[in-house]
Amino acid sequence: MSILVLTESENGKLKKNAFEVVSYAKALANHQNTTVTALAINCDEPGELGNFGADKVLNTTLTFPYFDALIYSEIATQAVKQEGSNLVIISSSANAKYMAGILAAKLDAGYVSNVVDLPVFGAHTTVKRMAFSNKAFSHTTLHANMNVLGLSTNAFGAAENQVNAQVIEFQPNIPDQTMTQIDVSQTTGKASIADADIVVSAGRGLKGPENWGIIEEMAEVLGAATACSKPVSDMGWRPHSEHVGQTGKPVATNLYFAIGISGAIQHLAGINASKIKVVINTDPEAPFFKAADYGIVGDAFDVVPRLTEKLKALQIGSV
């Protein structure tokens, strides 16, 4: 009845969210008096998961190095069956959300995404999750015997919890691939919006694509990802992949800088799960000031370069 947690790796290296989902599973397991089994696919250091409380790691190496939602969910299903689990924990990454629905259907399980807290146990178990694009929470009651919980990024955090993880080579039956990857483009050397601790986001206040140098420089100094408001991507100033908000990518980072962004309701909805928000805007009436923790009323072209200089001295992004 171990809790099964799916961990993610990239180029063999465990992702930050792997430690978070394992930490969450461990807290749950302690409460339920059970253990945590982590599934690691194409991972070079599966033993590291023991640092965050995984009692057992099922380790699988595939012949192809990339994520395949159908294959991964099949492997996870076999792991669940082997461990006799009735609770599966996954992250909120794009890959996790891609496979979650497939996995839940295979397991005939209830699936709750965007979970922000530990479940509350009782006659019926309920979990708190984000809904209405971060404008509200819903307390969702689980009715199935098998459940998959998708933990919202940064909602729980990673908590060190040293145990000696028993790493077991897991050899599931792998079905034939029905989809093949024919091309991949990775934004190399730069943090992604989903994984970055800090996101530097800019809007129409920047006036034109030629002015993004100051944003990129600030992001580089912070080791941050760059993002933008919807009109900025609609006008082609920045790629669509940088568009954040209700109809773009969700952001749940530790620190979000909004530069020259007014703070429309659709923008705020998508970024609200971020912990600390800093706004830099010439207009003191901009709605973003109502949603932010810290604000500077000022001109981005004056403030941002000076701020970048000061941040350089902290040597944050130099790792």
Binding site: A94, A100, A104, H124, S192, D234
Partner: protein, 248 residues
């Protein structure tokens, strides 16, 4: 090519979110409902296929008649037929299985659903349908080409994108990027008139129990006031971020 586009009926993005009946129900009072934006990108691509390569486009909703105006809008934009499975869309599991049951008897080459709806943000419907039906599936789809039975789809990932080749039948989770914003269609008078003549079927639901139910909603705590920092005192901002917020 037969295309099915799954449509969720959601509050307009500008809606104020409030709850009634002891925070157990969403307050629909004064709220304008629209086609879920992710579904609208998908519908627009479906109509592109219809116009450019020849296809029929059906739209499908699981829910009650209050969504009929939204389905009529989809017809006015260019869909050929509307289908509504008449039941409460209690959770994504119910929606996915209701549609999958219908599709088992009425197969499609391509099924498009939004990556997630902007109200409940469940994000499970397309994947569950794919699993139940055994169709290929590409989520967060930002590009799709179809040639005969072969499909090439671009999937947005965290920090990049990949191109996948597969065979129809296929389900995609649609989102922004699948079509340009300027491609989105506003219904014109002719489209609205034609929509009235188009078939609109209400289908009896199968008996499927929900795996999850919402017991209560909650609104986030009101935000504490923003701390304003003078534009010439950036050291203070850095100090606050390091020592008060502890995020640097």
């Amino acid at each position: 090519m037969k295309i099915l586009v799954c449509i969720s009926n959601v509050p307009d993005t500008t809606s104020k979110i409030n709850f009634i009946e002891n925070d157990t129900k969403f307050d629909k009072q004064g709220v304008q409902f629209v086609i879920n934006p992710n579904d609208e990108f998908g519908l627009t691509r479906a109509i592109w296929f219809k116009e450019q390569q020849g296809a029929t486009v059906d739209v499908m909703h699981v829910g009650r008649s209050d969504a009929d105006p939204t389905l009529r809008k989809a017809l006015a934009i260019g869909a050929d037929k509307a289908l509504r499975i008449d039941t409460d869309a209690t959770d994504g599991f119910v929606v996915a299985n209701q549609i999958a049951n219908f599709v088992k008897e009425n197969p499609y080459d391509l099924i498009i659903a939004g990556r997630e709806s902007i109200d409940y943000n469940g994000g499970m419907v397309p994947g569950m349908m794919a699993s139940v039906l055994g169709y290929a599936f590409v989520n967060t789809c930002v590009g799709l080409k179809i040639d005969g039975k072969e499909a090439v789809a671009v999937r947005e990932m965290d920090g990049g994108s990949e191109t996948l080749k597969t065979q129809l039948p296929l389900i995609i989770g649609a989102q922004k990027g699948l079509v340009e914003e300027t491609d989105l269609k506003i219904p014109n008078m002719r489209g609205i008139m034609q929509a009235r003549q188009k078939p609109f079927e209400v289908i009896a639901a199968k008996d499927i129990n929900a795996n999850t139910t919402v017991s209560k909603f909650e609104k986030p705590e009101p935000k504490a006031h923003v701390k304003l920092i003078a534009a010439d005192d950036l050291d203070q901002l850095i100090d606050l971020l390091q020592n008060e917020a502890k995020v640097l």
